[in-house]
Symmetry: none
């Protein structure tokens, strides 16, 4: 999730850690105010109180910077135990919807996804920093449901992986579409309807 070189230098002035923080925060601030297309690295540098060179020393460009800035937003996702699989899912979907409702998330995430359609390295970075990072939630939810006896343990690991992917595509896709394309709030009512359909579809014979 960090800049390029994680190898520490032996000599010379060390890089300022504060600069990284300031830059990412400034990036999110600029995303809120300006959106992706009007966000400029010069402006981010100014907001962060940093020279453009400092910024370019750490990130290759706008895409990489925004991926890192947005990725931090998703780390607050959690899976508290709400007592049932349905409630757990509703809870995490709602959290996801809340994060996606923030303008910096919407603008930044959609933009880098758009860019990633022509840049495999970028897509890999997005998956590593954002997407795959959150599959833990699906896995944790399934495990908890199996413990509760709500789901039968999946035996075929390949089939399990396919199911996780499908669930992920359906959950993330639906919420994103609701928030970005339909531009309607993914509120509790909607989440309940969605979760009901999803769960019925997955558990019906």
């Amino acid at each position: 999730m960090q800049g390029p070189t994680s190898v520490p230098r032996a000599t010379g002035r060390p890089r300022s850690a504060a600069a990284d923080t300031a830059i990412l925060a400034a990036t999110r601030e600029a995303l809120v105010e300006l959106g992706w297309s009007k966000l400029t690295l010069g402006d981010v540098a100014t907001r962060a109180g940093v020279a453009k060179t400092t910024l370019y020393r750490r990130w290759a460009g706008k895409n990489e910077l925004v991926v890192d800035a947005v990725a931090e937003l998703f780390d607050e996702l959690e899976l508290p135990d709400r007592g049932s699989l349905a409630a757990d899912i509703e809870g995490v979907v709602l959290q996801f919807a809340v994060i996606l409702a923030r303008p910096e998330t919407k603008s930044g995430l959609m933009a880098v996804l758009a860019e990633s359609t022509r840049d495999d390295a970028l897509r890999a970075r997005i998956r590593a920093s954002i997407v795959d990072r959150q599959k833990r939630l699906v896995l944790a939810g399934r495990a908890r449901a199996e413990t509760r006896g709500e789901l039968a343990p999946e035996t075929d690991p390949e089939e399990a992986a396919r199911t996780v992917d499908l669930i992920f595509d359906m959950v993330a896709g639906a919420v994103v579409h609701r928030c970005v394309v339909s531009a309607e709030p993914a509120d509790e009512e909607w989440v309940r309807s969605f979760t009901r359909v999803l769960l019925l579809g997955l558990t019906s014979a």
Copy 2:
């Protein structure tokens, strides 16, 4: 879906209809070769054999132009009668996936969606030109299924609208996520799995 005024002018040289076609085609060509971020209106004009002014006379900017260029791609969606609701859905989802697999669709659509998060007029244009335009498919599918007796007629019109929206969010969202984020092919197998879950979820008591 077209430029601003559809009102025909009484006087002066009329606008060239050929220019519109050439510009939209050139836009798609440029999207394939360059992607959204490297697409420039000057280049599109050159490819179309048209002056920049001609382009700006018809579209306000890159966003609007790409919306129209991409919208045409979705008009080929159809709903042939495949005998059952499940087969009908699978058919149209597959068509949708095929269209989305094209690089110009992915790049263009995702980019304008990203832009639309900060531009209500643009989002409205996208919905009018692309999204709502295809809801006809959902409605046609439901009607056919009711005729076949696969679905009971929905009595509450408000509830019906909500359901259509939910289906749309789930279908479009999942396919887009599969193609763009997961970057895996939305092939027949995936479509079958997805359709099964969706249909079960919707029809289970």
Copy 3:
């Protein structure tokens, strides 16, 4: 002094004579308000209530149009009999200075002169329409002075031509320089000083 074709057409709608007048007046008006560099033919056409095509049908471009527009301003120069050669010269120099003080004259004349340094046809047009047209004043002044006995008749016609040219360069040059470069008023006092030097220089043994 007029546009291209002076040959009257036998057939078709005749050209509007009012248009010429309106265009030249609009040109001078635009020169006053905008100056040469910001004067556009589209704007002139609009001011004149005329289509651009009408304008281009009569003049080849901005240069030719402005030459004609400015030339009309110089036609009001006269040489009233003021009783003595010195007074006659002072009178006409003053008239010349008054005309040159008008913004449209200054801007327009200087600009077309600048353009004429690289365009022989334009320079010829300027000489024909403006410069040589006014040499009549020098000739008339000389003739009147000879009649009064103030000047001896020049016998050598070639020498006479050279002198006329020199006088013209000196008079026109000095007044233009005074008005445009020095940007000081060529008022009566200055004209008297100038005329004195010129006349002394020409008549001293």
Copy 4:
């Protein structure tokens, strides 16, 4: 030791001095080849091997740039001692004529003079960079003539200034008119005739 030398600490990369030279030379080259009206700043930048931004960082526009480019041409004017006032004047007038005969001088100077009729700041710049800068020649010539005893020392300083201005208007005006409007060479013969008239006019009782 710690003086109040508040020299503005030069921070950031210093401007390239070579760029200025290259730009002015390129401007003169372009003036020769294209003339004022077809000279574009983009082209000048290309010729100078410089980005457009570099050019605009230093000059506000075409006018200012050309003034500076032309001003350098006039700095080669000198007043060598030719033994008599008449010879001195002839010499410097001839030099002036030679400079004015160059196409870049004619085109550039006349064009900025034309522009200056509507732009006081530009006219001030022209006077400071070109015109007043050369009044030194008139003053030096007068001083030398007084030393030689050819002219009586002028007592009234105001009258002296007026005379200098008049001489300047007459000399510069006549040469410019000869070269630009009449488009005849200001050769030795013409210069001799002109100088004779001027000097007689100024020195006759």
